[in-house]
Symmetry: C2
Subunit: 384 residues, 2 copies
Amino acid sequence: MAKKSTNHFVEMTENSKVELTPADIRALDNLVGLADMVVQSAKSKKDPKVEIPSRTLSNVRYNKRKRYIEMGKNKTKRELFNLSQAKSYMQTMLVSSGCKQLIEQGKSTSIRGLYYLLKHTIEGTREETFGDQNECDPIIEDVEVLLNTLREELHLYAQKKGDMVGMITLRDKGDEIDCSKMGSGGYGIPSIVEPDTIEFLKCKAKFILHVEKGTVWQRFNEDKFWQKHNCILTHGGGQPSRGVRRLLSRLHNELNLPVYCVLDNDPWGYYIYSVIKQGSINLAYESQRMAIPEAKFLGLRSIDYNRCGLSPSVKIALNDNDRKRAKQIAQYPWFLGKAKWQKEINKMLQNDFKLEVEALISKNVSYVTEVYVPERLKAKDWLD
Amino acid sequence: MAKKSTNHFVEMTENSKVELTPADIRALDNLVGLADMVVQSAKSKKDPKVEIPSRTLSNVRYNKRKRYIEMGKNKTKRELFNLSQAKSYMQTMLVSSGCKQLIEQGKSTSIRGLYYLLKHTIEGTREETFGDQNECDPIIEDVEVLLNTLREELHLYAQKKGDMVGMITLRDKGDEIDCSKMGSGGYGIPSIVEPDTIEFLKCKAKFILHVEKGTVWQRFNEDKFWQKHNCILTHGGGQPSRGVRRLLSRLHNELNLPVYCVLDNDPWGYYIYSVIKQGSINLAYESQRMAIPEAKFLGLRSIDYNRCGLSPSVKIALNDNDRKRAKQIAQYPWFLGKAKWQKEINKMLQNDFKLEVEALISKNVSYVTEVYVPERLKAKDWLD
């Protein structure tokens, strides 16, 4: 089957002159394999069905050895000849066919774009292929797990988010980009950062400093922190996008760069760290390509109010939702066994206030870049 | 007075070795001038006061000749010896002093950062200088209008947003950035793009194509639209930030580049165009540096559903808020006299649906870059 689809692909390439990458060939093979299965079922007079690894919470577990969230082995059948499943069966095939089309054309689009590409009234009926985007998105996730292929490999991109500067030169679609010469603006991290698109050329950096927000990133960039400390500086504009997480993970794994995170001292900051480190519960299947179990939490810490001698003016009172979220996060399996993390979260609840990274500015504008982060890096003072 | 403050500045520079730019010197002169006024009042035993151009809606008007929104001549007194004004008087001085400090240190920060820098308990009292950020932000705007100095010139930046690629090379804080060699990621548009930071070096581009969203920008970048059509391609991640607007305005005015906008066919898209073109009502004082009265609206248009032969599936029904906003926007003075715009907005209301740029993908993935935009540019078919 693999051979057949590869041949098919070669023909296709010659006709349309699209240069397929090894990842494209792999994705196409998977997509064609899926279609072949349907044909085979039909020929052997069996009911066409697919078995999709189930993305329910009960099928998600924390793998203690690998130290990230992964999916269990439960699968859900989706059958064509089943009234309640026929539509989602059709949608699964439609999404797969849309992605095949994108790969063969050498183009990519957003998940919104794919939705528009596929949405139409089914001939002879008044039925729409998709009611709205919310019907299409989970099917994309189904196809990702079904084919064990990231959506980026299926040529689907998300909103761009985050910037990067620092001691690394990379190749992005043929262009050489020296991230140490990117001024105040930086290199806009793309949505798709797979090896076919982004290739690391030269890297002098010894680590990655990832900060939560663009405003904090600008402070570090203005102080040329990445030059003084020989590192790479990234931000994710809040919760980092898949592109940012995947890039961090590739930099970490392929170039052996430790990742240090500077996030707000609030449940949201803890959560961002948790997602960078262990992956997200909703999209557990992507963890093996995105999670960075070795990522360190450099701060802000609940002890920083006293440790840094901050003024009472910078306290932001916790609200009920903060308290609830903090308690939930303390129960995450990867935080449960860790005394330091339990202490950290308890201390925040005890403080009954949160702190933003910007609060350090009350010491002075560059306290965070000149004192806070360098001191903690030197003392290896972080949470793990 | 100007001379005195300039001297002061020179000394300062020699001590702290911060290289002040001409814009810094101008801003410092303004700030020191403000402080001198207070001292003079005190010496001549007059009540210290400032007169701040009032930023109320009633003091905002559309200048038909200049074709942008500007402020009227109304001013509001703010006096130190007036119980209801003393606090905001103090805050005005505090913000001014904070900005002076930033400029002298050669550093910049976010408006959030400035808030933290200035927030403290006033000695001997339980009074905070600022209750929360919402108390600080309008004071920053007051200082901007009072000194006729953009916040960026006061070393205050916003969240970064938007990316740029295309036929231009610029210098950003000493680094030369060739925007035609920025791969799939692009150059992240900085928050502060004043001439001291961003200098245009070489430009082969004939125009600027500004699109609303990052996902649409990625489509244009992937198809190398900017190379084929010899232009600059930008997006603002939705409503463009001040940095994006100021950069577009500088590119337009300094390099004589026309600006064409590709936005969604909904009231939000109209509004974005309106802000790019005439400035925003809330921040009218910045229009002269940011508005681009010549900017053209290339689409999407309400007639595109029929003109492009789109499938009914791409329609998104208007809701009550959309209808209300559309009617409000039709009444904007700069749209009122324009038959084409009235027709455009009426047609949308008549359609009773809106269209996203991504809807064009239903034709094919690259319809927007290969057909829609090139055809309209060629036919000079836009709204003005």
